[in-house]
């Protein structure tokens, strides 16, 4: 029994959140077992940008109350090297992972981020040209160079970016919404109006941690931000109920499928997002604690559906 999502047939409803599972590094750490027990029904790449990025200076992590704040800064090789070096490896890995899902293909979704509509267009066009890529996800949690506002937080800008991207491909186009906006429903509607085939949410919530007293320089008058990027994104169980509210609000107002994510640790959490209107569920931070967390969640979901 497969699940249909934007014309793709998936073995189950659980995929990974972008940037939470480096399949190439995991293949090195765990060997062929990664493929034979591949946890996800589709694989979403980390965010790819036009130019290579080093990412933010360390420290990049802070363990928050029931969660994690990260300020990784989207390190990646840039579009050209992603296509030349990573894509062939990811394609062979996801092809080998079919075996984990009774022969059902594991589609490769490439996540891209630009800082202008033009950049998004270039990235999407390059993905369109590659048969290994089944779908494209737009990371719109990027500040507009002029206004400083996140593109994805402003419905007008977001719709314009999606229209441009839509014109470059007929492959499924997913828009990853930011929760750091006054009105996530308006943003979801803008993505749909721009031609998105699906929306995914929530991305991490903007958060900050201050340097603990023990790690502060003596004589420092007050605590400074701990993370190299000053602020970061909060994920994990701490955000689960926020995710549920946003997914429910969006799913009630758009007609395109919704990928729900945010703090899912167990099948029951995934089930809640589905009950709130999500078609697929993404697992992110839970995979950091156990790389096979998604496998258990997918199995648990299937058992719930069966009863």
């Amino acid at each position: 029994m497969t699940v249909s999502f934007c014309g793709l047939e998936l073995a189950h409803r659980v995929i990974n959140g972008s940037g939470t599972f480096d399949a190439i590094a995991a293949r090195r750490a765990f060997g062929a077992a990664l493929e034979t027990d591949f946890p996800f029904a589709a694989y979403v790449s980390k965010t790819i940008t036009l130019e290579a990025r080093e990412g933010n200076p360390p420290p990049r992590l802070w363990e928050a109350a029931s969660g994690l704040i990260n300020s990784i800064g989207l390190p990646n090789k840039g579009l050209e090297r992603y296509i030349a070096e990573d894509l062939p490896q990811l394609a062979s890995l996801t092809a080998a992972a079919r075996g984990a899902h009774d022969g059902c293909a594991v589609p490769l979704i490439t996540n891209v981020m630009g800082s202008t509509a033009e950049e998004f267009s270039t990235l999407v066009l390059a993905c369109d040209a590659r048969s290994e890529i089944a779908a494209v996800e737009l990371n719109v949690s990027c500040p507009n160079v002029e206004t400083g506002l996140d593109i994805g937080a402003d419905p007008r800008q977001l719709e314009a970016v999606v229209i441009e991207a839509r014109a470059q491909t007929r492959k499924p186009l997913i828009v990853k919404l930011t929760p750091n906006t006054a009105d996530v429903v308006a943003c979801a509607e803008a993505a749909q109006a721009g031609g998105a085939d699906a929306v995914s949410l929530i991305n991490t919530l903007r958060a900050m941690a201050l340097t603990p007293a023990a790690a502060r320089s003596p004589g420092a008058p007050r605590a400074a931000p701990w993370l190299g990027g000053r602020t970061g994104g909060l994920s994990g169980p701490a955000v689960r109920t926020v995710a549920l509210a946003q997914v429910a609000a969006v799913a009630a107002r758009v007609s395109i499928p919704v990928v729900g994510m945010g703090g899912v640790q167990r099948a029951a959490h995934a089930r809640e997002l589905i009950d709130a209107g999500a078609t697929l569920v993404a697992v992110g931070t839970a995979s950091f604690r156990d790389p096979t967390a998604a496998t258990g969640i997918a199995r648990g979901l299937l058992r719930m559906t069966a009863t």
Binding site: A29, L34, P58, R60, E63, A65, S66, I72, T295
Partner: protein
Amino acid sequence: MSKAPFARRLLAVTGMDELGPYRVLRVADPDGPDPDPGQFAMLAAAERWGGGEDERPYLPRAFSIARVAEGGEAHFLLEDVGPGTRRLCELQAGDGLWVLGPLGQGFTAPRDGRRAILAGGGVGIAPLAILQDSLPDQTAVLLGFRDGSRAEGAALLRDACVATDDGSAGHHGLLTDLLDRELQHDSHAVVYSCGPAPMLEAVRAMCAARGVPAQLALEAGMACGFGACFGCVVPRRGGGFLRVCVDGPVLDAAQLEKVDEHAGAPG
């Protein structure tokens, strides 16, 4: 490199030994792969992992594998420095422990007839124990501690020469005093080091100044331990970053401009 089974495994704690202010956590892992010296594992208590101070811990904690005893009993050296390590220190025989590993790149054996010098500090002496087990008996072992109580940790290794900051055990001074003496005696050596960032940086600088190769086992706060989160990076000499979990934790000193003071764990 030993590859980790894909999935964290629920193992049984076999015991917890006191070693001065440190604890040696022992875990039955008869079916686990043999780790390379320098590899690590991500640990989390099966029960009550969370809900501690500030509603932490949430993430597993990275620990060097200190030793594998007969029958596949894995040993980890702990120091209570935060909510995660505190919870791990409370574990008793029979308790469950989630273990993901062995992970990362370990130490490389000495080459070109160089003799090994092991230089460790504090709780960072752990990976040098399993390394010592794999090296000839006469390998030099130099360990530094803050005080005499912590210096009891030196019992984890055999025939260690000890320095303490306060002079209450062994040489009154720094580990690098001992290392300096050792390298003056014979510099055709390779130094294996693990410990607090300022000590590692001093070891790195001393070895670099004398042209002695060094392998440094780094510590960093990690969310995953297998390259997924990109959170544990340190600056690479010449630009960019290295992921401590998959490029390390053992790095050739030449890969680093200096040991970053931020390379600390969440506790």
